[in-house]
């Protein structure tokens, strides 16, 4: 039996958002979209979405609104402050509706937005994703959610259209904490692979062969397979733009200081990312951490 068609709003039509909208439409749902520049919504509209004039207008046509935007400040503007006067999501969402933010932002910002929405009887989930543009296209994203269990249960069928591994981690903010852990482990692993590639090259050993020897052993990992291969082929094009990982590190390290948690390795990776940015590689892949070592 096909699930009941729902009225869904979606804001953030980038590399991630566009394919996610397609999956929701294919799932039989009625999707409204909004973007700062209407041209950015062309693909979504061609696929059957309806363009709305503002976030508030979109909210008035939706029972559930998803956002996937770059920074916490942008999310705050679209949801709470409005982009031009009182036209934020909060100004259009009815009591009993749900806002699901899938952006990667600070846990404190997620809690702040949830608090403002709760006052008006609007539910909130923070549900950042991992898996990149490829995962979004194939509907195989990992989705890590924070919020009330009953709200998660309500949204789960929609998550299943976009992702494969879907976990309710805990209360509001828990999704963002999980995403921070994900980024720390992944980017630190990229740095470790870069250092291995650098050591191999310094000893005139072919890193492609080093990799094939390591992959089946204890050092084998998805990061080694994917980023090690890029480094071996010296393919430094994105992938995931390094500037986004750089942005994530400011959130992670801020949270660590606030919580009084020492993160010595993450702190070093953060500084390597600063050097990567200074070299002008922010819009290229994070595998450029290798080229930082080669400078």
């Amino acid at each position: 039996m096909k699930a009941e068609s729902m009225k869904i709003g979606f804001i953030g039509l980038g590399v991630m958002g566009n394919p996610m909208v397609q999956h929701l439409i294919k799932g039989g749902h009625e999707v409204s979209v909004w973007a700062r520049r209407e041209a950015s919504a062309a693909d979504a509209v061609a696929n059957g979405a309806t363009f709305r004039a503002s976030p508030a207008e979109l909210a008035r046509h939706s029972d559930i609104v998803f956002t996937i935007i770059t920074t916490g400040d942008d999310v705050e503007q679209v949801v709470l402050n409005g982009t031009s006067g009182e036209n934020g999501l909060i100004h259009g969402l009815a009591r009993g509706t749900v806002h699901v933010d899938m952006s990667t932002i600070a846990p404190t910002m997620a809690r702040k937005i949830a608090g403002h929405l709760a006052i008006r009887g609007i539910d909130f989930l923070d549900a950042p994703v991992s898996g990149g543009g490829m995962g979004a296209q194939n509907g195989t994203l990992a989705i890590m959610a924070g919020g009330k269990p009953e709200v998660f249960a309500r949204i789960k069928p929609l998550f299943e259209l976009m992702g494969k591994t879907i976990v309710h981690v805990g209360p509001t903010g828990a999704g963002q904490i999980t995403k921070a852990c994900n980024q720390m482990v992944m980017v630190a692993a990229i740095q470790a692979v870069a250092e291995a590639a650098h050591l191999a090259a310094a000893n005139k050993v072919d890193f492609a062969r080093v990799m094939s020897a390591m992959q089946a052993g204890s050092a084998g990992s998805r990061v080694l397979d994917f980023f090690g291969d890029k480094m071996a082929r010296r393919d430094f094009a994105a992938g995931i733009e390094a500037r986004l990982h750089h942005k994530d590190y400011a959130l992670i390290m801020d949270e660590a200081a606030r919580a009084g948690a020492p993160l010595p390795i993450s702190a070093q990776v953060w500084q390597q990312l600063n050097a990567l940015m200074a070299s002008g590689w922010g819009k290229e892949d994070t595998s450029n951490l290798l080229r930082v070592l080669e400078k």
Partner: protein
């Protein structure tokens, strides 16, 4: 042109209270206000001090206002916020912020004040509580030379090394550099003392001999002694140095600047704050290393 003798002072904490006292001792009239009323209790009726109801009232009664508060949001609040200095200050007032805050905060506050005809200097200090008490502070100033020249006689009542570094914000940049070096220096000395101790070497003698060589520094001398005396009373609280290093690393992040050593040091201050040592002196870093080395604190004492 000399500044009149009515001086506003906001922020009467560990540093601010002795600084205000040094200004009062020189015969100036101190106009004060604090966000916590209990901080003012001891000043009511005290000769030389007038307690006001708001920062704006302090500004209205003063020729110059000093602020010495904890963090950027505090500076924004007491200067630009509701009932703040800017609301009571008339054109021609000078505001001197001696707090340690982000250089960007100094520039924002200065811009807002300039629009009202109020001059601004950022003048963070180094030297800790003892420096404040003994008027031995190092003061690093950013702002216009003419304004600096007018305030210099008052700075001389507070510190012994007073330097104009550059335009507005330059004082905070110099202070950030100071916090990088001291922030890294304190854990370095704590590591060395813990290392000597673990190796069964008398750390007192280690410190003594090192003070004659290239590792000699004010931190080895002063902080090293406090660590050996196991005197962890602030001084300078660990959470404040954590805050200062966060300012530095946030600025470095924004400028794409690599500061690996400062980033490592910040993690150690995170560890102090997270294990309940935020309110003790930064020299308590030694205790953090001892815990991680399996040393029983009782046995050390």
């Amino acid at each position: 042109m000399n500044i009149g003798s009515n001086i506003g002072f906001i922020g009467l904490g560990l540093m601010g209270a002795p600084m205000a006292r040094n200004l009062a001792k020189a015969g100036h009239n101190l106009h004060i206000w604090a966000r916590r009323p209990q901080a003012l209790a001891q000043y009511t009726g005290l000769a030389g001090y007038t307690v006001h109801a708001s920062a704006a009232d302090v500004a209205a009664a003063s020729d110059i206002v000093f602020t010495m508060v904890a963090d950027s949001p505090d500076v924004h609040q007491v200067i630009l916020g509701e009932g703040g200095v800017a609301q009571g200050g008339r054109s021609g007032l000078i505001v001197v912020d001696m707090s340690t805050v982000a250089p960007a905060t100094a520039r924002e506050v200065a811009t807002a004040l300039f629009e009202r005809g109020i001059d601004f200097l950022d003048a963070p200090v180094s030297g800790g509580e003892s420096g404040a008490i003994n008027a031995q502070l190092t003061i690093m100033v950013g702002g216009e030379e003419a304004v600096f020249a007018r305030v210099k006689p008052l700075f001389d009542l507070l510190g012994k090394s007073v330097t104009l570094i550059g335009g507005v914000g330059a004082g905070q940049v110099a202070k950030a550099c100071n916090q990088i070096i001291t922030g890294v220096g304190v854990p370095a000395v704590a590591e060395a003392i813990n290392f000597a101790h673990k190796a069964g070497v008398d750390a007192q003698r280690m410190r003594e001999v090192l003070l004659g060589g290239f590792a000699a520094s004010r931190i080895l001398e002063m902080h090293g002694k406090r660590m050996l005396d196991r005197n962890f009373t602030p001084g300078f609280k660990a959470w404040m140095h954590q805050k200062d290093l966060r300012i530095v690393l946030d600025a470095a992040h924004a400028q794409h600047l690599q500061l690996p050593t400062a980033a490592a040091a910040l993690q150690l201050y995170n560890g102090m704050v997270g294990s309940g040592m935020g309110e003790i002196d930064t020299t308590g870093m030694l205790k953090l290393f001892e815990r991680m080395s399996g040393i029983d604190e009782e046995a050390v004492q």
